[in-house]
């Protein structure tokens, strides 16, 4: 899922300058799960904004609403009555939601309430790690289900590099060496011989490197 973190309050105050009627719009999916932009976090930011404004002598009205998602028109529509008449919306969704809300509610001013960090797995309560880089050409079948693009700091396809030590990456002692993990996994699967095959250079055309991506499923279009 998409993992993000609430922006610092001061930064948000700067971005809402000049606005009076403000809506804090939450998203009930990824950002709610990582406790950055769900209904509860909307309530918290709204309370902080109201209190902060009162202490700074700012005259603002802050209201709250949360949609199930902000990346689908049908769900964004549920916010219409809340957005109507507002000077500004603070979207607590990921970067996708912020932009889509802005597009669907043009010309209302929309600012982000969180920083969108990465696509990650929930390792433990309150802990997430980056697992996928949406490269568009998944090689997980060849690496025992461990991604060398996302989890190797250098995105090597034929790792490890010389910086792998005690199963950790040289850039950070808390980062696992993805290729150590791949080796261990392939060994457990009895498929170690596959790692001897050299993986050819990856075509990054399908990744963000090839430009903003778009998918059209003709079979889904009526």
């Amino acid at each position: 899922m998409i993992v993000g973190e609430r922006k610092p309050l001061e930064e948000i105050f700067e971005s809402i300058e000049g606005a009076k009627d403000i809506l804090v719009a939450g998203c009930g999916t990824c950002v709610a799960v990582c406790m950055a932009g769900g209904e509860k976090e909307v309530g918290m930011l709204a309370a902080e904004l109201r209190m902060g404004a009162r202490l700074r002598g700012l005259d603002i009205d802050v209201s709250e609403a949360t949609a199930q998602r902000q990346c689908d028109k049908e769900y964004l529509e549920t916010l219409r009555e809340h957005v109507e008449g507002k000077d500004l919306v603070i979207s607590m969704a990921c970067g996708i939601g912020v932009q889509y809300l802005a597009l669907n509610y043009e010309p209302v001013r929309v600012v982000p309430g969180i920083n969108t960090d990465f696509l990650g797995a929930n390792l433990d309560v309150g802990e997430w790690a980056e697992y996928c880089q949406n490269c568009g050409d998944c090689v997980l079948a060849d690496t025992g289900g461990i991604c060398p693009i996302a989890r190797c700091s250098k995105s090597l396809l034929n790792g490890p590099c010389g910086g792998s030590a005690n199963g950790k990456c040289e850039i950070d002692p808390t980062v696992d060496c993805a290729w150590q993990l791949i080796y261990d996994r392939m060994k457990a699967l009895g498929r170690l011989d596959r790692l001897s095959e050299v993986h050819p250079p990856k075509s990054w055309k399908t990744s963000r490197d090839g430009g903003p991506r778009r998918l059209v499923r003709e079979d889904q279009k009526t």
Partner: protein, 162 residues
Amino acid sequence: MSETTSGDYEPKIVAFACEYCSYTAADLAGSMRLQYPANVRIIKVPCTGRSDAIMLLRALEEGADAVFVAGCQPGDCHFLKGNYRAKAMVPGVKTMLEEVGLHPDRVEFFHVAASEAQRWVEVVEEMTARARRLGPNPIRTGEGPEYGPGAKKDAGDEEDAA
């Protein structure tokens, strides 16, 4: 209604007390006829793990002068880890208060066992004293930030008093 003179100001303290420990301690304090400030408003929760940052923030937004959460002693939570959850939540709220412009001493977490009626009294006295020292919640009075850049005056840090 002006509450800026110390004579008029009576702090409003909100306390989240758990059914199994701190609320029982408060009840016992009453049975024992222990005398303590009448400024506290108790909200009983089944476990302090139920309490959340949003509740503390709303209490302060609505004008409470101080808010505290009183949970079980470490290891004694009936729901195993609720008190740890509440204890971990409070420092985050303190940081939020600092960013907003309120003094972090307005919120706190304490451990109070069911038998510790006297400890409950001490906790209430501590928070009431803090609320008096800090003065009325500036959210209510509209005075301006009491912490961080833009704070007009020191809100009576304990270090300053030393």
